[in-house]
Amino acid sequence: MAGASGSVPIVTIAGCVVVAIRDDLDDQDILTLQDELVEEVSRRSANGVVIDISSLEIVDTFAGRMLGAMAQMAGMMNARTIVVGMRPAVAMTLVDLGMTLEGVETALNADRAIEAIRAGQA
């Protein structure tokens, strides 16, 4: 079940790749995680990716760009990406940065996101 993601566990549940991002990741860790997520989507033929950012104190331009890129790559592999648990202060900061996170869907929590992804399956 678990991905080989070093210290960030990636699990696949019912066709959904689920990952909870840790707060202290640096840019290099984020790129590694992105690679591992894409690989897991492909290996599992997943139709969804759920990224839990509830422990992220901040999302800056780098992390924001990574979330957008992740959604794009998963989209090309026919998987839908949903980000859950964004803190209110993070949302306000992203607006100031002018980061709209285009193509990134959000949901309240992982359960809702998995439900949405499963409901969307043909």
Binding site: D26, I58, A89, D96
Partner: protein
């Protein structure tokens, strides 16, 4: 932060994470609101990353100040890089000479109470960020 000052050397992506950590600690120490703390830490992350990527590294110093009963954190980030030829241009959203979105500098400016930038070919770039507790 007993003497109210902390310095972080900036040479790698990991150091940018340390700078964020130091910024968070300082804002927590002055009792800043969550939103103010989040905005300041994000601004620090952008400026510190720029120093590493474009400025050949440098350092960032955090200092706690008090004025009129309101405390604030001042971050001064200096690098040894080539400087920014056109600062006004660099502050424009969408302008990037790298792989970025070009939102770091302009975004950082909007996230803090005070933003100053000095840059030259000989001295590198110095960015000052300040946010009050409230």
């Amino acid at each position: 932060m007993e003497d109210g000052r902390t310095a972080v050397t900036l040479a790698s992506a990991q150091d940018v994470a340390y700078a964020r950590e130091a910024a968070k600690r300082a804002m927590t120490e002055i009792g800043a609101s969550t939103v103010r703390r989040t905005k300041f830490v994000t601004a620090v992350s952008e400026i510190a990353r720029n120093a590493v990527i474009y400025g050949r590294g440098g350092r960032i110093v955090f200092e706690i100040r008090e004025q009129g009963g309101v405390r604030s954190v001042v971050a001064e980030c200096s690098d040894r890089g080539p400087g920014i030829a056109d600062v006004a241009m660099a502050l424009t959203d969408g302008y990037s000479t790298g792989k970025g979105l070009g939102r770091g500098l302009g975004g950082a400016k909007r996230l803090v109470d005070r933003f100053e930038i000095r840059s030259s070919e000989t001295t590198g770039t110095v960015v000052i960020l300040e946010s009050r507790a409230r």
